[in-house]
């Protein structure tokens, strides 16, 4: 660990560490295909709400 900004390193060290299962899911093609669709829908919703008149 670097000795610069010790508080920041402590805070990072205390953050939740993704489990191997979570990391696998983040790369799983089927799970990620579903997430890809979900992200698209979320983004389209934000876009639709943002084009003001």
């Amino acid at each position: 660990m670097i000795d610069y900004d010790v508080e920041a390193q402590k805070s990072i060290a205390a953050a939740p560490m993704p489990t191997p299962q979570t990391l696998k899911q983040r790369k799983n093609i089927f799970v990620q295909f579903v997430r890809f669709c979900a992200i698209n829908i979320k983004m389209l919703r934000v876009i639709a709400a943002s084009h003001h008149k």
Binding site: Y4, A15, F33, H52
Partner: protein
């Protein structure tokens, strides 16, 4: 016949030009003044900067496209606006200096009826001595040539690691008032990915050095969103990624000076430090384009038209004062100049009323606060909105100006964290609104339904899709206008 003059052909200027040309009859002129021959999809400069994408994939020449569409193209740098005409002109005009090879330095004057300033940021490397690739010792990915040069330097650094050296890589913001922390975040994790891929991660220390007071601030004061049944913050979520990828961080930092191999910085608690480095990619702070404004008598009215940083003043409340007094209503809606109703600004060129993140100053009086980001989506939406207003005015519909306040507008951001179709990842974030509205959403400042964050391979696919779609749109391919800003 009316003339619409657009200064700058980046995300907002090009969006404005293309929509204006589509919405206005051929009897009206659309003119673009911009210094570069090429359009650059800046978000993908990150991939160019780690050597994962050739520079030609983020650029295309504007002139042939504009010729085809009937947009007049002037390769020049605007230097002055005369909103009241004068100097022999009956109409307002802009003075520009040609940057076209063969006629560099020639002065041109272009009259207009409506003007949109889309000149984006001037990369202010000079704010920190030693910052930047041209007169300093750090790298940048802010322009395509910068990113290409950075990729070469990175290649050389990786070769050193492969030869057995242990190196320190520092990525972040090169001044206390920088913005675009999202881009620095992306470069950090793409760099980390490339180092791992090259098999040298164990010989590389990766440090994120930022002006943000907390990780996950991103210049928008951080986000709160729902994940797996809990409300979480972008701070915790981002810290988790730093922990997973072994990236360390220095927060609330203002770089005061860069020397070869040494970064001098001050932190929010007033302490000063020196950090050695072997490779550094540090973003510059932004200022407005170096433009002046003159009235009919030739008097310099720049201070009325622009704010001190050179951004064009619009219909914002610039007298909000202290953080406690900030309101959603401070933010501009129509982006029209309060002095001249035929002048507008879009994208980074408009003067924001204040930061979005809470302002912070060190005990030594150094401002260490991210400036408000105006990312691609808001820049494009604002540009299109302003064009709609101008088109109405030209057609004489008498309708009020269209509005697109950043307090009512969302943004979708995909921050790449590694480029590979099967193994890559990215943080996909949505926020609505961009600027928190604590009066409407007293608990978190934003609508929890429109605010989200997740990390995974899907984000990388999304980022790729955006690259393809936005270049398709920018190139004016069939039905380009269906692709939203």
């Amino acid at each position: 016949m009316a003339t619409l003059l657009i200064l700058g052909a980046g995300v907002s200027g090009h969006t404005a030009a293309m929509h204006a040309r589509r919405m206005l009859g051929k009897e009206h002129e659309v003119i673009v003044v911009t210094p570069n021959a090429n359009w650059n999809w800046i978000p993908s400069n990150i991939w160019v900067g780690v050597g994962k994408m050739p520079v030609k994939k983020v650029l295309f020449p504007l002139e042939p496209l504009y010729k085809r569409k009937g947009i007049k193209f002037n390769q020049a740098l605007a230097v002055a606006i005369n909103p009241e005409g004068g100097d022999g002109h009956t109409r307002p005009f802009v003075t520009a200096t040609s940057t076209r090879p063969g006629s560099e330095g020639e002065e041109i004057q272009i009259e207009y009826d409506f003007l949109i300033n889309c000149t984006g940021p001037k990369l202010n490397f000079g704010a920190t001595p030693g910052l930047g690739p041209d007169n300093g010792y750090t790298h940048s990915v802010c322009t395509a040539p910068h990113a290409a040069a950075t990729a070469e330097e990175l290649k050389a650094a990786i070769a050193r690691c492969k030869a057995g050296e242990s190196l320190r890589f520092v990525v972040g913001t090169g001044h206390g008032t920088c913005t675009c922390e999202g881009a620095a975040f992306e470069y950090t994790f793409n760099l980390e990915y490339v180092l791992r891929e090259a098999g040298v991660r164990d010989r590389a220390e990766v440090i994120y050095l930022t002006n943000e007071a907390t990780l996950g601030d991103f210049g928008v004061g951080g986000l709160t969103f729902t994940q797996q049944g809990f409300q979480t913050t972008s701070k915790l979520w981002t810290e988790s990624l730093y922990r997973e990828r072994g990236v360390e961080a220095v927060l609330g930092a203002h770089c005061s000076k860069i020397e070869p191999g040494v970064i001098h910085y001050e932190q929010l608690d007033g302490s000063t430090h020196e950090m050695s480095y072997d490779f550094a990619m540090l973003l510059p702070p932004f200022k407005g384009a170096d433009m002046k404004a003159y009235d009919a008598a030739g008097e310099d009215i720049s201070a009325q038209v622009f704010n001190p940083a050179g951004f064009l003043k619009v219909d914002a409340n610039y007298a909000a004062g202290a953080y406690e007094n900030w309101r959603a209503t401070d933010w501009p809606k129509t982006y029209q100049s309060p002095l001249y109703d035929n002048i507008f600004a879009a994208g980074i060129a408009f003067a924001p009323p204040h930061q979005i993140s809470q302002p912070r100053t060190s005990p030594n009086g150094t401002v260490i606060t991210p400036s408000p980001p105006r990312t691609g989506m808001p820049s494009g939406i604002i540009a299109k909105t302003v064009v709609m207003t101008i088109v109405d005015r030209i057609k004489g519909t008498g309708k009020p100006a269209y509005e697109a306040p950043m307090t009512g507008m969302g943004a979708a951001c995909v921050a790449s964290a590694g480029m590979s179709f099967w193994n890559g990842s990215a943080a996909s974030m949505t926020m609505h609104p961009v600027v928190p509205d604590w009066q409407t959403y007293p608990k978190t400042g934003r609508d929890l339904k429109g605010t989200s964050g997740e990390i995974g391979l899907a984000g990388h696919w999304m980022k790729n899709l955006l690259h393809v779609l936005f270049l398709y749109k920018a190139k004016g391919r069939p039905f380009w206008w269906i692709v939203p800003e």
